[in-house]
Amino acid sequence: MGLWNVIRGRSDSTAPNLDSLFALPGAAITLQTSIDLNPTGVGSVCYRAAEGAAAAATQSDAVSLIEADNGPKVETSVDSFGFTWLVVRSTPDDVSGLVTDLHAVNSGLETQGFSSGLLCSMVAFADASGRKAALVYLYKQGTFYPFAPTGPSTRDGLFERQLRDLLSSDLRIEPDIARWMPVWGAPGL
């Protein structure tokens, strides 16, 4: 397969693993009970929107699907790297509902053939002292990593490692720390 791809000048795009997202509600409970870090009810999907009409239609379908029946509000923004963020603001106590909404966006993109553009999903947490952290899910690797920004371009590496150790039984944590990509200024964090 590898050699055949090399000869043909191709690289298989890795299929994203969408279902691992559903491990998040369990992890949220662990964080709540062990270090009093609570979900803020904000989650987001970050992906590269393809140019053309099809991607725009897919995006507006996904947004209206989530917002239907008095669902949570969805904000759309494009970051400086050209990635689209769909930020879902739901209630803090309903992590599984939030995850279901995020998953709906993924499956919408997947059925339209845009799943290769998925970059990551993020669910935000905060504690009473105002300390913030997010669990970021990498679709292509099927792994999570903690991201704890402390400023516009600084992160709390120690706290992130602490979260990794806490969650190692709940989630598949990305073992390669070089892949813990900083998402500074991610909307919703």
Binding site: G9, A15, A54, G113, K140
Partner: protein
Amino acid sequence: MAQSRFIKDTGLTARMTAVMFLLGALFVALIVVLMYALPGYAVVIAIVGLGIAWGQWYFSDRVAMRAMRAREVTAEEAPELHGMIDRLCTMADMRKPRVAIADTPLPNAFATGRSPKRSVVCVTTGIMQTLNAEELEGVIAHELSHVAHRDVLVMTVASSAGIIAGLLTRGAQYGGLGLFGGGGRRGNNNNNPAGVPVWVIALVVSLIVYAVSFLLTRMLSRYRELCADRSGAYLTQKPSALASALQKISGEIANTPQRDLRASQSMNAFFIAPAVRGLSMNAITSTHPSLEQRLDQLARIAAELGRPMDGGPATGPFDGPLGPSGGLPPGPAGG
């Protein structure tokens, strides 16, 4: 499985595999001829030739970085560039290459290195000033595709017949001065009753092999560029950004004075756009496809990405409105 919007360009794949097969056949033919003409030297010449090819491949990153006076940069030195490459590598699920910047006004970018582990993606300061972020991302995705397709290895293997033939040409010239004496005499006695000196035959054969191999590797290089364009455009999902980058770069490069170009000529095969004057090179010897051909392919990808898919059951990949290869102009081999 979800539907794929990837254009399977069967024509391109077929042409490319045919060229690779021909290059392999050329290599074998050259070795066989050598075995007959110069039985004493054939193995030595083949080993030296392959050794040179191996060296070119093995040290490709160091040689290229030095030739371009490129400097590796850390995430702190170039946060935007690193962030961009981080995201592309995460989307493509590939290992992040090293990142380097070459301080030259020539707007260009290249990828090199013997394996994905050892690869370097280098951009020039000129290209960072010329392109906006979106266009630069398209160019970097093209270079990352070269890494993923292992193009340095492919092009080195492809050029090994040419390297041996080049070696032989030089050897045969010395042979004419009497240095090839032993092999020549034996050849004269056993295989060559007509009395033509064996070094003349070796010279003629190696010149022919060198010329054919030169044309075939250039053709292969153009096909690999099209493949990298295609994979890069699918990675960023923005074929138009790469298209506008290519237009900007080729315009700028054509305008760059010749003096700047001489230093980087050996690097042309790995550049995003060749650093030579567009008009002085003809289509057959160029390392890169014409801008026209590249834009045509990107337009087909853009059409495929923008095509609505009505959420029906997966019907397999779509070949595009013009059939498997209809949209791509015939390669230089075809006309």
